[in-house]
Structures are given as C-alpha cells and as structure tokens.
C-alpha cells in the first residue's frame, strides 16, 4: 500500500515536471530560435532550416545589420535618452514628493490626484499636440523633446510612489534638524535624499528601462534616422525588402541583447520593484 502510494506520488511528480517543461519550452523557444539563426549563413538556413544548430558560427548577419542601421549610434541614442530621463525623472519625483509627501502643502490631495491622472492618460491623447508644440518650439526631431516628455511622464508615477513611501518617513528627524537651523533645502539634500536612496535607485532603474522600451512617442517625435532609438530603428528596418532570414534574425537578437543585459544587471532591483511598478 505504501509502495503503491509512493509510486503514484512519483508518477504525479514526473507528470508535473513534464507539464512545467512544456510551458517553459514554449516560452523560451522564440529566444532560442532567434539566437541560433542569427549566427547562420543564409545558405545554411536555406539548406537545413531554422531548427538545427549553426554549421559554422557566422557573424555576417549581425555585422551587416549593425552597419546597415548604424547600431552603435542607436545604442548611444537610447542610452543617452534613457539615462537623462532617469536622472531628471528621479529629481523631479523627489522634489514633488518632498512637497507633497513630507511637506503636506495645501491642496496636496488635489495635486496628487493630478499626478496620478497624468500617469493614466493614454499617450494617444497627447501625441498630436506634443508633436505640434515640439515643432513650434523648434525641438521636433531633437532628442531633448523626448527627454523632456518622458522625464515628466515618468516623474508623475515617481511622485505618486515616493509620496506614499514618505508617508512612513520619520518626520521628527526633519523637525529636529529644523530646530537646529537647517533649512528646507538642506533637509532635502542631507537627510531626505540619502535616506530614500534605495527607493530612488529603484525608480532610476524603472525609468531607465521603461524609457528604453518606449515606442509610440519616440516614433513620432524622432523622425531622422540618426536620432532614433534601438526599438524604433529595428522596427523601421523590418519594412525594407532586402532583408534575408538570418539578417532579420540578427536584428531581433540585437533588440533582445541590451534588455537581457539590463535584466541580469538589475535583477534584484527589478524583482523587488515589480509589484510596486505593477501600476504601469
């Protein structure tokens, strides 16, 4: 009887393992297939199809796609935009949350609601006026336009999150510092900012990755090839005809790699913050 039970248990365990493996296989298969075919020669692909391991690791597809879209330039663009947005976005969030979360200024609830509303507004309802205003201000097709827009949009989320974090901030420290003659600015710089550094770094990471992944507004605000970001440049190239299978695969791989890198670099921050970021 006992033996029968254990064999049933292990049968169940095997079935569960198979089930989970199938799910995992389906999820990872696209990554695998993009990876192996990015390193094939077109002849290899034509002869042996997409499933086999490359006969010979060829970097031709990757190199020619890299040169075609000037990928170094796109990486620099994406990095410059995302990094600037992350810095400015965190700064704005900190200033706003300092006034709203710690300062308890008059009408703070109304302000907070406005920031939350700004965060939920679809970009579609902003895009044409933004496009129009950018042209008016002569910053259309300049990265500064994208940087300003996303710094503000990201900070709307950051303000909301940071204000709620500040609800449990030990306020008596600030009061004591103020009694000792510390001004509001000094309090912010020497007490609030250092203490909230962990939350700020989570925000920084999120802002950076969210901005890197953005598509809709950068597509419209950056029209010149040499100003575009990685996702835009790669997807614009897909429409062109003279792409063969291996080069198309290489383009997908180049889109995936930076994100994989971020994922492994920031894994701990990300898993800590996914639930906090679930509002996005």
């Amino acid at each position: 009887m006992k033996q029968y039970r254990t064999s049933l248990e292990s049968l169940k365990k095997i079935a569960a393992a198979i089930l989970v493996s199938i799910v995992l296989l389906i999820m990872l298969f696209p990554f695998y297939i993009v990876f192996i075919n990015a390193f094939k020669t077109p002849a290899d692909y034509a002869q042996y199809g997409p499933l086999t391991w490359p006969r010979l690791f060829s970097f031709n597809g990757i190199i020619s796609f890299w040169q075609r879209v000037d990928f170094s330039n796109k990486l620099i663009n994406s990095f410059a935009i995302s990094f600037s947005v992350a810095i400015i976005g965190v700064l704005l969030s900190l200033l706003n949350a300092y006034a709203l979360g710690l300062g308890r200024i008059k009408g703070r609830i109304v302000f907070l609601v406005l920031f939350v509303v700004a965060n939920t507004l679809p970009h579609e309802a902003l895009v044409y006026p933004l496009y129009y205003l950018a042209k008016l201000l002569k910053i259309y097709d300049r990265q500064i336009a994208v940087i300003i827009v996303f710094s503000v949009i990201q900070s709307a989320f950051g303000t909301y999150l940071l204000s709620s974090v500040f609800a449990s901030f030990p306020r008596d420290i600030l009061e004591a510092a103020e009694v000792d003659g510390c001004g509001k600015m000094k309090n912010l710089l020497y007490i609030v900012a250092p203490i909230s550094m962990p939350t700020l770094s989570v925000l920084f990471t999120f802002f950076f990755i969210w901005t890197w992944n953005e598509f809709f507004l950068p597509l419209i605000l950056l029209i010149s090839n040499h100003r575009q970001t990685v996702p835009i440049a790669i997807s614009v190239t897909q429409g062109q005809h003279n792409m063969d299978a291996t080069m198309a695969s290489a383009s997908a791989l180049l889109g995936i790699l930076p994100c994989l890198l971020f994922f492994f670099l920031f894994q701990r921050t990300l898993t800590k913050g996914i639930t906090a970021g679930s509002i996005k």
Partner: protein, 297 residues
C-alpha cells in the same frame, strides 16, 4: 510639535509647471482639436461634436473596439487565468516538490518575454511567422505538415488570432510574478488545515485565489488599460491589416493623425480612449474601496 508646512510649495513649482506643459496643456489642446475639422495645417474649423457622431457611425471605429475586446481576452483574461493556475501550482506543489531554486528558475523563464520592448517582441514573432522565410512554416514543412503552412499575419482569418497568441506569450509572466509574490502572504497553516479537512487541490486553489483578490484586481485593471493602448505590436506586425482585421483604437488614432490628416477625428478617437480608461479606473477604485481592509495598498 507639528512640522512647519510653510516653505514646501516652492519645491513643487518646477515639477508641476512641467506637468502642466507636457501633459495637461496637450490634453486640453487635444480636447479642443477633437471638436474641430483640421488637417494639421491652417486654422482648425470648429465642428462641435461632429467627430464623435462620425465615430459612432464609423464601422472601422467599431472594428477597432471589437478587436480591442478580443485583445483584452488575450492580455487580461487568459494570462490572468493561466497565471493563477500556474502560480498556485508552483507555490503549492512546485516549491515543496522541486525546491525554491527550480521554481525561481521556472518563474524567471516565463517572465523573460516581459523584459523585451513590445516592439522587439513583435519583431521576434514577425520573423518566426514570416511567410517567405519564417521559422514556423519551415518547421511545419519539415515535419510533413506543409498543408498547414500559412501566411499567418497576411490572412484576415488568422492575423488577429496570431497577434492574440503572441500577446498571451508576452503577457503571462506579469500576473505570474505578481501572484507568486502575493501568495507568500498566505499562512501555510490555512492550506494545511484545509487539506486536513479533506479539501482537494481545487478547494485550496479557490482559497488562494480568494486571499490574493487585491492583486488579481490590480492585474486585471492594469492589463485592461494596457490592452487599450496596444500600438507597437500592431505597428510592427500588421499595421492594422489585412484590411481592418487587426486594427485597434490606438493604431486607428495614429492613422488619422499622421497618415490621413484627419487630426480632429484622431483626437476624438483618443479622447474616447481616455474616457474608457477613466471609467475603468473609477470602477476599480470603487471596488477597491468596498474591499478596504483586505488589501495592503
């Protein structure tokens, strides 16, 4: 002693001015434009609610919202449901039988698509489904199923289901990760007690679902709003086609803004999107308030 509240207002000035300039000014302009006929150049001509009337009578507009509801099925309903089953399974059965490390690995693997920009996820699948050289048709041919080989994204009958399947693949990791972290809140004794009382896995599943209701609500709301904003994957995969087979509100607004120079009409469509999002959020807040106390936000 109460902290002096004076002197904090100044810190809000830059952030709030920018918010007005970048979000609320454009939004107000968009509202105004939605009541005009405008090609993007010249002076907008006031037409009142004509654009909204036109939307209600426009079959493409309705097609975009019909497709949107199907997208909600693909990014909200299915991933939430599968995510619930998987997370409870991994939590209740996986961790005791396979160990925490293996389960973390599985969770990471399922979450992986979520780290991609949607545009890149679209490009990965656009490559796999490409009718000329795509991997899927090649695989089908090599296992003798060439009759199933197909122009997946080019045929109106399969274009939308293909995009939906891609979205399920892309989205599943999100509810899974949220639900697994929520399940840690459950006192194991509750499930043990239920088991002693003879509750089968389904009962224990229902108990778990009941306890993580707040997170389910968050996932349902955020993904439903997300479904309404789907743009990049449509832009990359099908451009709304063939015909209007995969048109969605966001792409429809984009077409009117930038391809057809119907700026007023595009503004009206995007305003309707905004209204729906506000309505959804209001309903969500209402539900959340009525459950006050069980959640932890």
């Amino acid at each position: 002693m109460r902290l002096k509240d004076k002197g904090y207002g100044i810190f809000l000035v830059p952030g709030f001015m920018l918010l007005l300039l970048v979000v609320f000014l454009p939004f107000s302009m968009n509202l105004y434009i939605s009541c005009t006929k405008w090609s993007g150049v010249g002076i907008p001509q006031w037409v009142g609610i004509a654009n909204y009337v036109r939307a209600v009578q426009d079959s493409v507009f309705w097609a975009s919202f019909r497709n949107n509801i199907l997208m909600i099925f693909a990014v909200t309903v299915l991933p939430t449901f599968i995510g619930l089953l998987l997370s409870v399974f991994l939590f209740d059965y996986g961790i005791p039988h396979f160990g925490q490390r293996t389960v973390s690995f599985i969770r990471g693997g399922i979450y992986l698509p979520q780290i991609l920009p949607v545009a890149i996820a679209g490009i990965v699948w656009g490559w796999i489904l490409n009718p000329n050289y795509g991997a899927l048709n090649r695989i089908l041919q090599s296992i003798g199923l060439s009759s199933f080989a197909h122009n997946w994204l080019g045929d109106p009958a399969t274009a939308l289901p293909s995009v939906m399947a891609i979205m399920v693949w892309f989205q599943i990791g999100y509810p899974l990760v949220i639900f697994m972290s929520a399940l840690q809140r459950i006192d194991p004794q509750i499930l043990e007690a239920a088991q002693i009382d003879g509750a089968g896995w389904f009962r224990r599943f229902l108990i778990s679902v009941y306890i993580i209701r707040p997170e389910i609500l968050v996932v349902v709301l955020t993904t439903t709003i997300y479904a309404l904003k789907l743009f990049a994957q449509i832009y990359v995969l099908t451009r709304g086609g063939p015909g209007t087979a995969t048109i969605v509100p966001s792409y429809f607004a984009y077409q009117n803004f930038f391809e057809k120079a119907n700026v007023g009409y595009g503004a009206a469509v995007s305003t309707i999107m905004t209204l729906i999002i506000f309505l959804l959020t209001a309903v969500f807040i209402k539900i959340q308030m009525s459950h006050e106390g069980i959640g932890e936000y």
